[in-house]
Structures are given as C-alpha cells and as structure tokens.
Amino acid sequence: MFALLLLHLVLGVGIVAAGKLLGRRGFAVAALAPLATVIWAVARSGEVIDGEPVTESFTWVAGLDLTIDLRLDAFGLVMVALISGIGLLICLYSLSYFAADKPGVARLAGVMTIFAGAMLGVVLSDHLIAMFIAWELTSVTSYLLIGNDDTNPRARAAALQALLITGAGGLVLLAGLIIIGQEGGTYLISELLADPPSGSLVNAALICVLIGAFTKSAQVPFSSWLPGAMVAPTPISAYLHSATMVKAGVYLVARFSPMFALDGGWRGIVLAVGAVTMVMGGVRALRQHDLKLLLAHGTVSQLGFLMLLFGTGNDHIAQAGIVLLIAHGCFKAALFMVVGIVDHGAGTRDIRRLHRFGPGWTPLRIVGLISAASMAGLPPLLGFIAKEKALGAYVDYGDFAGGTLVLVVIVVASIFTFAYSARFVLGLWGVFCEDGDPVDDAGEVIAPTHPEPHAPSFGFLAPAGVLTLCTILFGVFPSLLDDLVAAATRALDPGAEPSHLHLWAGVNTALLLSGLIIVCGLVLTVLRTPIEVGQRRISRSTAFIPSSEDVFLAILRGVNTIARVVTATLQNGSLPIYVSIIILSITLVPLGAFADDIGELPEFVESPIYIVLVALIVSAAIGASISRRRIAAALMLGGVGYSMAGLYVARGAPDLALTQFAIETLSTVLFVLVLRFLPAKWEHQTPAIATPMRLAVAGAVGVAIFVFALSASNARSDVDEPSMSAAQIVAALPEGGGKNHVNVILVDFRGWDTMGEITVLVVAAAGAVSLARTGRRRGEPGPEFEEVLDEPIGDEQLEMADEGSVT
C-alpha cells in the first residue's frame, strides 16, 4: 500500500518535472498510478470483502510514536475503487479534453496524480495524524489544481478561497483529532472503534472534527468555495469536486459516526447541517444557467444528503449512504464529463446558448440523460437503488429525535434534485436556448457557441459511457454490489446487520415516497419558468442577507484590517517602542508563572560590599533612564555592567566577572561608535511622558528578572533527582579534562550550544554590518536612517498585486 502511495507521489513529481516534454501525454503517464491501484484493489478485494483488512505499518518518527498505519477495509475499498477507478477514467478523458500545446497541462496531470495519492492516503490511513497530513495534502493540491491557470485572477481567487476555507477547517480538525487521540489513548481508527473515548472534552473535539469535515465537504455555511472551484478545468472538477476530495469530509463522518453519533451533539449537528445543505444546494441548482454550476450546486446538495445518511450512526442508514456514495461517484463524474464535452465542442456551457445539435451528439445526450436520471433517482438505475434504500432505512430506523423531519427534508430535497436533473437534461436538449443575444445577470452578452460545433469522438465520450454502464449495470443487478456494500457497512460498524439490495422490494413506503418525488419533480419541471422568476425575485429582495461568499470576503477584509491596525500600532517605526514592547512581553508575560515558584528567600546581603555595588547599579540604571544625553546614558549602562561584574567578583565567580568586564568595555566603545551618527540629545523630539515611561519599563524588567532569578534558584527544591550542574562539576576533570568547570561546560558538555551561539553571532554580525553599510557607503553619501525608516514598506509590492488582480 505504501508503495502505491509512493508511486503516486513519484509519478506526480516526475510528470510535473517533465512538464512541457509530456504535454497532455502526461495524463497517459498519470493513468499508470490509478491503474496499478485498481489492479491491486481487485486482487485484494476477495479477502477484504471477507472481513480481513489488509494492513501495513511503517514507523515514521519513532521518538514521537508516529507511525504510518495503512489499513484497507471494505469501506476503504469502496473509496479506493471510486478514487482510482474514476481517476483512471478521468485520465483517459483528459487526453481528449486538453489540447497538446496548452501550457500547464502536464503540471495539471502531475498535481492530479499527487492529489490522487493524497486522497488514497486519507482513506487508507488508520492513524489519525497520518490521515490528517494526507487530508491537508489534498487541500494543497486542490489549491494548485484550481489555480492552475495562473494568469486568470478568478482562478487564483477561487483557489485561494478553497485553500483558506478547507485549510482553516483542517486546522480545527487537527485540534479535534489530537484531543480524541489523547483521550482515547490511541490514534488508530481501528482501535478507537473498539473503545471510543467520551466526555465533555471529547464532545468539544468532535465539534472540531465536524467543522473540518463540513469545510471539506462544502456544507453550509462553508459551501461557497465549491461553486467557485468550478473555474478549474472540467476534468479536475469532475474528479476533485464531485467524486473524491469533497467526499473526504463525508468519509470522516462515516468513520466517526458509529463511534460518536450518540455522544454530545454529533448526530444533531450533522443532521441539521446536512439537511440545510441538501435543500439549499438543490434550490440554488434550480436557477443556474451554467451546466457546470448547476452540477456544482447539485453536488453540494448531494453531499448534504450523504451527511444525512452517514451522520446518524445507524448501520442501516449508513448502508444506504455507501450505495449513494457509489451511485453519486458514477453519475456525477459522468455528468461533469458530459458538460466538459459540451463545453469543448460547442464553446459554451450556458443553457441559454445551447441549441439542439445534430445527430452526432445523440450518444452524448443519452449518456447525460441516463446519468441525470440516476441522479434524479429513476429506476432501474443505481441512483434509484440508493435513494430507495435511503428512504427505506429512514422509514424503518429513523425513530430517533428529528428522524421524521429529516425524512421529510430528504423527500423535499429529492424533489429539487429531480427538478435540477430535469433542468440539466432539458438544457442538454436545447430547450432553454434563447434567440438573439441573451444576457447574463450582470447584463453582459453570453459568449455564443462555436460557429461549427463539433460532436465528440468515441474516445472522448467512452469514459463517461463506462460510468453510465456501471450506473445501469449496478441498477439492474444490485446484487453485484451486495457483498461489497455489506462488508463496507460491517467495516464501519462491526455490529452492523446489513440487508440485501433490491431493485424491486415490493410496494412499500419508500416506493410510494419515490413516486411522490417523481410526480412533484415533474410538476416543478413543468412550472420551471415561474419558479425561476420567483427565485430570482426572492433572491433579489433578500440580497441584503449576506451570503456565505459575502461572509468569507468580509472575514478576509477584516483580517486584513486588523493586520493593518496591529502593524501600524506595533510597528510604527519608533525604536524605543519596539524595544519596550519586546522586553515588556518577554518579562511580564511569564512573570505570573515565576511568581508562583518563589520559595524561601535567600540571604540577600552576605557582605557590606553588596550594598555599595547594588546602590551603584540602581543609581546608574536610574541615571541611564532619565539621562537626556545619549552618550551619558550609554556610559551609565556601562556603569551598571561594571558594578554587576563587581558583584560577580564578590560572589567568587571570576569567569563571569572577567567576561562581564570585557563585554562592558567593548559594548561601551561600540555604543560610542554608533552614537556619533545620532543627535546628542533626544529630549526635544520625545514627549514628556517618555522619561517616566522609560523608568517604568526599566523598573518592570528589573522586577521581572529578580522574580525570575528567585524562582529559578528555587526550581529544583521539589525535585529529588540530583541536579545536572552538580554532576557536570564532578565530571569536568575526569571527562572533560579541564579544571575550569565553566569552560568545560561551554566547550565540551554544552559545546553544541556554544556552536549555536557563535553561529548566531556570525549571522547577527553579518546582518548589522550590511544594515550599517546600506546607510553609509564609502564614497557616496547614503540616505539617512530616518529617511530609510520613513519610506513606506511594501507599497510597491501592494501596488503590483493590485494591478495583477485587475488584469
């Protein structure tokens, strides 16, 4: 399994690297990875369906107990079949979709392969953290795929939106996964399933997990990125945004529901969010003119449906979810492919421009019709089996709080699903075609079709045809899927008792509800024009209600504004304020923690000389704070240092004293060197409050360091083990070969630290010197320090960014 994931990664990176050499042939190379995965999955399917998961473990960071545990159970097998099966078909489809000479096509193929590997990682990882990493990798690769057309600002914006929403959700998810792993005592999903943790902390973690799942699966209110992501090339949309990535959230909910559905608010939240999403997506799909956007909103709706089926924790309802997962993968990928072919051949996807093309288009229309019928839930197709199973399961097992309400929502939303499926088919048949030059909502004329629309070749249509055949085959003979679905249900919930799938289960409530859906859907289809007009009117009159898109943009702007305000406040160009903020935060923030640790107070005055030295230190420090001349302040600081060195001498620490003396001497000299470039006094440019402020900051730092020293000397009072410094002093001569403990510790025991310190010294020296040289170059008068500071930083970049987003 690990080899397969690696194959995806290596192949993907290789294709990206080969780039232009491959062109669209990159997709042919990319097809190898899903092909290998499909072959492997088929070879292993027997034992997996028999309930013997394939496992592999690979220790990654031994010290942190991080392992990559891969585990293929039957539910994983369903996901792998979708990811790699559809992935293979998408690769073949892309070969016809893309022209060879288009730049970035190979990159698309490569990144898609990496994405497929990441997606496999999500469904194969048994370890929560490994799964999370793969999860984030799908977000990142999705960003690259949506934004592949890097000259198109809309593509970049949509990519960024998808990344920000799914990435933010991912962070919340990580928090949730870590809490669950810590509380449960294991990060392995298979072990958690046997003994799920509980408690209020776990409930909070579950909400985090749900937020992660909802962002990924485009649930309300995080759904806005999915329609936006439709700027990606159609094969990508077909793959990521219908069949695979958006299913990751559903997958997570499916895995977790059997463990946690009854804890806290899990079931209630999932059902509420899923219900709203299912209805909203359906309603929005009904007013789309772009076939691709219609499908995108339809996908949002179907994802909500899947949430409703997987989120209950009931095994029968989850079984229906698994069937719907397969059915949705088949018909939605096929429908997206159909849209891509229409776009490719006709030059537009807008149903107001699509007229009834010639007989060469008939196979395409039939493929679209059958897949859309499956989406609508018409017999004898797989979508019908799934919907029937879902309705039946909810009728029989939806006896929990709100179960009936959810059933009603499913029926209503399914009516919408029927209606938008019909809208798709009618659009494909050219029913909405308008004469003249139809305009869109913004009042712009929609681009017309190609003067000579060309019908798709056989190879172009074949992948969609294969999926449609699956839809028919599994619809007519659902028993073919029986074993797989039953095993997958048991993989999710070991106590499950899955039932058989039937095309004809006799006249029951579910069948009657299906009939009701079809009848109502037909009515909606007939009344489509008034409904569309009414929707438009409602959406116009409710325009003041912010959509999730508006909220997203408002948050983005808010973050920018806050960043600007914070930066303007903290980074205002005043060095004294920078320094005050830095030293106040490093001293005052930990002060409370240190203050708790003060134990017995040591004897402060061991000898009268202490009093003299401390008095010197204090008066020099106060002098430095209130001095009006820079040079005097620098000398006062030197006085503090020398008195400090005196204290070291009095305490019997010659090494420290020596170093302190030398440092003070040099730093005073360097101070003098630098101060020559600054005005001698500073009082005329600082407000009256400056001196008291300086005193206050200095006093606060003094108190904080004092408290820190007290608590540090007391830190080991409650530890029984012998202190390390004592051990090092004993070992200095025999092991370090030196009598000077300080030096042995510096160059031997803690030599690595010293190594780091001198490296920092070198870096700091290089930085300081190059800064100084920018200010004053030999021979030519450089800008003054103040001028350098006054220059607004980054304005040019911002301007460039603005221009970039306009073009």
Binding site: L670, V747, G751
Partner: protein, 164 residues
Amino acid sequence: MSARRPPHPDVLMPDQGRPLILVTTVRLIYQSIIVLGVYFLFAGHNLPGGGFVGGLIIGAAVSLRYVTGGLPAVQSTFPARPHLILGFGLVTAATTALVPILLGGAVLEHGYFKLHPPGIGELKVTSTLAFDIGVFLVVIGLVLLAFEAFGDDFDEVIDGGSAS
C-alpha cells in the same frame, strides 16, 4: 541631500594632534594586552578565561588601536579581512565538532594528549582547544567587523567630512 552627519563634539575624537599620552600608553601596553588575550584562550580550560573572554580582550586591544589610529591602524594590525577571520573561526569550531563523527565518536567528543616541551613543563593539549580557538576567532572577527562598519578613518572624517 546632506552628507553623513559630522561626528558629535561630545564624542572622544582626537584632532590631528592626537593625545600624546594615550598614543604612547597604547603603544606600550598593546602587545601585552594581545598576549593577555592569547593567555586567556590557552589557560581557559583550567583557569578563568576561555576563547570568548580571550577574543573580547583582543577586541579591547583593537578598540584602543582604533582610538589612537583610526581604521587604518586597525586594518594594518589585522591584515586579514574581518569576515575571513569570522568565517575561519566558525569553520574551525564546526570542524572540531564534526571530526569526532568521522573517527567514530559522538559530536564534539574530545580527546587530549600531553606534551613535555623543554622549559615549560607539562603541557596538556585537549582538542577542545581547537573549538575554543574557533570561538576566539569568531569574537575577534565580530569586533573587527563592527569597527569596519561603524568606525571611520579619522583623517577622512576630519578633512573630508566637514568639506562635503
């Protein structure tokens, strides 16, 4: 655009007739300070001192040199470019840290051997000395670099600075 600000009169800045006493004193004690710095470097393992302090002492000698003779005096005393000294010190320290790995030991593992040069008695040389020399050179390089960056050729400042 105005040129570099002229040095402030408050700052100790010898005029063309440099303070004779200072110049003479520095000339007398300069070598002794250098020897003291080197002594601290070598004595450090058993007595107070070490590469860091040794380097700082040398740095103090450099600053005396600067005060009496300006940048040219410093540069003529240390012909190697400061960044070379700095880099050489870092490389020396890193090499001492890494060589034990090649010999099959741990990072920074040290050994020592004893010499008996005539007249001095027993001289114990530990490989930590090489590490300390690295630290020593880094500190010296740092001080020299600072003088290069912020210091001036006095004559240039006094003659050219006021003219521009």
